[in-house]
Amino acid sequence: MLRGRFGDTSGRPYMEGHVLFPRLGWSGNVSFIFDTGADTSLLMPLDAQRMGINYGLFEDQESTLGVGGASENFIEGAYVAFADDEALYGYEIELRICKPADELMTVPSLLGRNIIDRWRVTYDKSAAELLAKVISSDAQTRLEG
């Protein structure tokens, strides 16, 4: 069972995952906002900067729509992994990468429905429980420890 958490003061739901861009070799851990309203997952500029991303190497982009209006985001194939006590679960997705902007540097990355739809989720803020049972994954490997 994957375990997320709720921010102490904000109450925002978070889930941590490991992101790898296989074509480009960049990787890093990301604390995602658990966002069932997002059609797809989105890497925000602060996390991209931590991973050392060079935006000039992205080849594809598309326009998306959010509460702030339309924006252009890069698209890149990525593997995203999550771990519980028993296994590491991998997902192969097209990850959107938000173009850098100063006003977005404090906004967390989004875990969208392209991954959440593959879990059975318990969202219980009153009990401080954000749990996800993995229904399917693109790869899975058991952990010994």
């Binding site: 375990r3 958490r5 709720f6 921010g7 102490d8 003061t9 904000s10 925002r12 978070y14 941590e16 995952g17 490991h18 790898l20 296989p22 990787s27 890093g28 851990n29 604390s31 906002i33 966002d35 309203g37 997002a38 602060l46 900067q49 931590r50 991973m51 050392g52 959010g66 509460v67 593997y79 992994a81 999550f82 771990a83 590491l88 991998g90 997902y91 192969e92 540097m105 404090t106 906004v107 989004l110 994954s137 693109d138 790869a139 899975q140 490997t141 058991r142 952990l143 010994e144 420890g145």
Partner: protein
């Protein structure tokens, strides 16, 4: 899927135990940011901080300085959670 020839596992699974361990440490750091927020506001108001292995490893007034400090000290940015400590968190509507 548990096939060792799976291309995702060939990238992610070279050392799954290490990835899982680093993820757990990262989650611990993220949890510390949430749970210790009042203390962090008191000690690092309006500063950027980097939390690695559950501890504040660096602080700076701006993000480039923080990243530079972390890199200079060999702290892996990919395993470090970075946040700006606002006194009053802005409402987020995504």
């Amino acid at each position: 899927m548990t096939d060792a020839t799976n291309p995702i596992l060939s990238c992610l699974g070279r050392d799954p135990e290490d990835i899982a361990r680093r993820l757990r440490e990262f989650s611990k750091s993220a949890g510390m940011l949430s749970n210790d927020r009042p203390r962090l506001i008191n000690e690092h108001p309006l500063q950027w901080i980097g939390v690695y292995r559950g501890e504040v490893s660096a602080k700076a007034d701006d993000l480039p300085s923080l990243m530079e400090d972390l890199e200079r000290r060999g702290i892996p940015l990919g395993d470090t959670i970075i946040r700006f400590i606002e006194k009053n968190q802005r409402t987020l509507i995504l």
